[in-house]
Amino acid sequence: MATLVQAVRMALHYGETYLGVTDILGEDVGPPLGGVFTATQGLATAWNTPLDERGIIGAAMGIAYAGGRPVAEIQFCDYGFNTIDLLKIAGNQRWAGAGNYELPLVVMTPSGSGIRGSLYHSHSFESWASRLAGWKIVMPSNALDAYGLMLSAILDPNPVLVLLPKALLRVHGEQLIPGEPADQEYLKQLIDAPLGDRSNWQPRWPDLDEYLVPIGQANRVREGTAATVVSYGRTLPLCVQAADALAAAHGLTFDVIDLRSIFPYDWSALSQSVLKTGRVLLVNEDTEVTNFGEHLLRRVIDEHFYELEVRPRVLQGRHLPGIGLHQTYERNSVPQLAHIQATLQALATEEA
């Protein structure tokens, strides 16, 4: 099974071959490196830019205005903060410009903690991004969804931000991408650039098929009755693990919802599950002041207050200036499996 980052690479290959992607641009995105996380190795339209995030976003916007279909990479979302006003323009231009222009722009960037990234390789971005009206924001938690969300992002004629969970980039999927060879060693031989000199290397792409995960559609990955837990990205598999452990140990079953799209989010899936269980936990690792999960919490309270059996919870990153390099800092800054499991158990067992 492909890793999440291999899935992104195969999606980009599919995009430039069949969906009209004209430019895959960013720092170290082109040969020889093919991206610091290898997401762009061997791609025909990948090229290196100056070390200039504002230039990357600006140029991608210009390419999109002129009829191209760019995918721009910001090497780490931590380095995207100086692009905020360009991202804002990308999001508002169609509304401000009375619908004159479409802007089919994809920006992908690794987000979140989990690789011992210290202060500037551990940031989360979705709460900031959720304030950029006019954008769509997605975040896969597995390889197949990464493939399907990237293809949708490419096809969508609006700006789409694809947040890639850093901690999961090298995690193998559990489901085959259509056209992907089942043997992961063989896939590696086909599409991973060799270490060392790769000047004569060419990828051998598998014959991939289109697979779309619609933007705005969540995925219920576990079904249960004790409570609802909603997450995305790095913390999603931790929620699944916690739910499975509580099922095995205590017979408590949970609806585990992988939101997949931050905006537009699948309110219908969340709402229906909350109505069923009356208990909800929202989990993400972005900092808690002010957090996207709080928006979902507000809607839960506004619209389902009288259907809730116990107080709803949000588990999120602490309000801190950064994540420190020592593991003690990281483990105590962003939600870990133990936090999630304890919170989920308390939520499910609190007396109504």
């Binding site: 205005y65 231009q93 169609r94 401000a96 619908g99 537009p264």
Partner: protein, 347 residues
């Protein structure tokens, strides 16, 4: 009275016919701006920002544009003082006035944006936004597509002296001169010596802003932007370089700011800066090309046109509450929540 064939400015000359055409656009632009300033004070509009003092250069810019849609044509990344450029491109005064009057019929923004914030896909005018200089970061992108596409389309990007302090100005120079990947970008700086209330000379020590291009091998010119004949020829040379060589060029025009920054500072007429229209009319009169009564007629006609445009715009509908969400998103076949346009928070 038209007896001379051409009008001179220094060693350069322009045909009498072209001079008269330029003069007409300059006068129409000024009359429109003056009427818009009135609108901002009378309640017919709300806010004014624009280009009185930039008409000479901006008119010539508009007349040099290869206008159309797509990479075969010029792309325009303008700032909010380019009204004369659009009139020179034969866009109707009414459309600019619709924006000043905040009408839903405003083709640039449906009454959402300040006046002078144009967006017109049919002529490659990408949306003008208030943050000055972001256009310099976006411009290389359209030029990348033009260079790859072939043809002679140029990307024109316009900003002011104050905004050139932002890093996006350097972004444009770097991205336009990547070795072997040079881009047909015409970088224009309209130097009016002001950033709202801050004199340029209190913040900038470089002799000319376009001197910065030298480090990147970008050829540059400075021009008296109050002189339409000099501006015409400087633009002609700049466009010729970008169209044929497919490399960038920088052009800095010294211009006046005749009504201050915007209506926020009162938009009162400034008397101690040169007025490009008065100067040009003096030149055309001296050349025996334009008599006072013809000048008076031109102004009267332009003011009538502006008045009629305002009258028309004010008869048109204002935005309705139901318009708030429109055009947030383009229709998408892969979006389960917003397949058409934004409809408020997901339901």
């Amino acid at each position: 009275m038209t007896t001379v064939a051409e009008v001179h400015s220094g060693k350069e000359a322009l045909s009498a016919e072209q001079c008269l055409a330029i003069h007409r656009v300059m006068v129409r632009a000024r009359a429109m701006e003056e009427r818009m300033i009135q609108m901002s004070k009378s309640g017919e509009g709300y806010f004014w920002i624009g280009g009185p003092g930039e008409e000479a250069f901006n008119t010539c810019l508009g007349l040099h544009i290869k206008k159309g849609c797509g990479p075969d044509y010029d792309f325009l990344h303008l700032h909010y003082r380019n009204a004369a450029t659009l009139l020179a491109m034969q866009l109707p005064m009414l459309d600019a006035v619709r924006q000043a009057a905040l009408r839903v019929t405003d083709p640039h923004s449906m009454g959402r944006n300040f006046v002078g914030h144009y967006a017109l896909r049919q002529y490659n005018i990408v949306p003008v936004s208030s943050p000055v200089e972001t256009q310099y970061a976006i411009a290389p992108g359209t030029a990348i597509v033009q260079k790859r596409h072939g043809g002679d389309g140029v990307t024109v990007v316009v900003g002011g002296d104050a905004g050139s302090s932002e890093g996006d100005f350097a972004t444009c120079m770097i991205w336009s001169t990547r070795p072997g990947q040079e881009l047909p970008v015409l970088m224009i700086v309209m130097n009016n010596q002001w950033g709202i209330s801050t004199p340029m000379r209190s913040q900038h020590s470089e002799r000319h802003i376009v001197d910065r291009g030298e480090a990147f091998g970008i050829p540059a010119e400075t021009v008296d932007g109050n002189d339409p004949i000099a501006s015409w020829h400087a633009l002609r040379r700049a466009f010729q370089w970008c169209r044929r060589k497919r490399h960038p060029f920088m052009l800095e025009a010294s211009v006046s700011r005749l009504h201050g920054h915007s209506s926020s500072s009162g938009a009162v007429r400034v008397r101690d800066e040169p007025d490009c229209i008065a100067l040009f009319e003096g030149k055309l009169q001296s050349a025996g090309l334009l008599a006072q009564d013809a000048i008076d007629d031109a102004w009267e006609g332009a003011r009538e046109e502006a008045a009629a445009a305002v009258e028309q715009a004010l008869r048109e509908p204002e935005p309705a509450a139901g318009d708030v969400y429109r055009h947030t998103y383009a229709p998408s076949g892969v979006d389960a929540v917003y397949p058409d346009d934004y409809t408020g928070l997901p339901e």
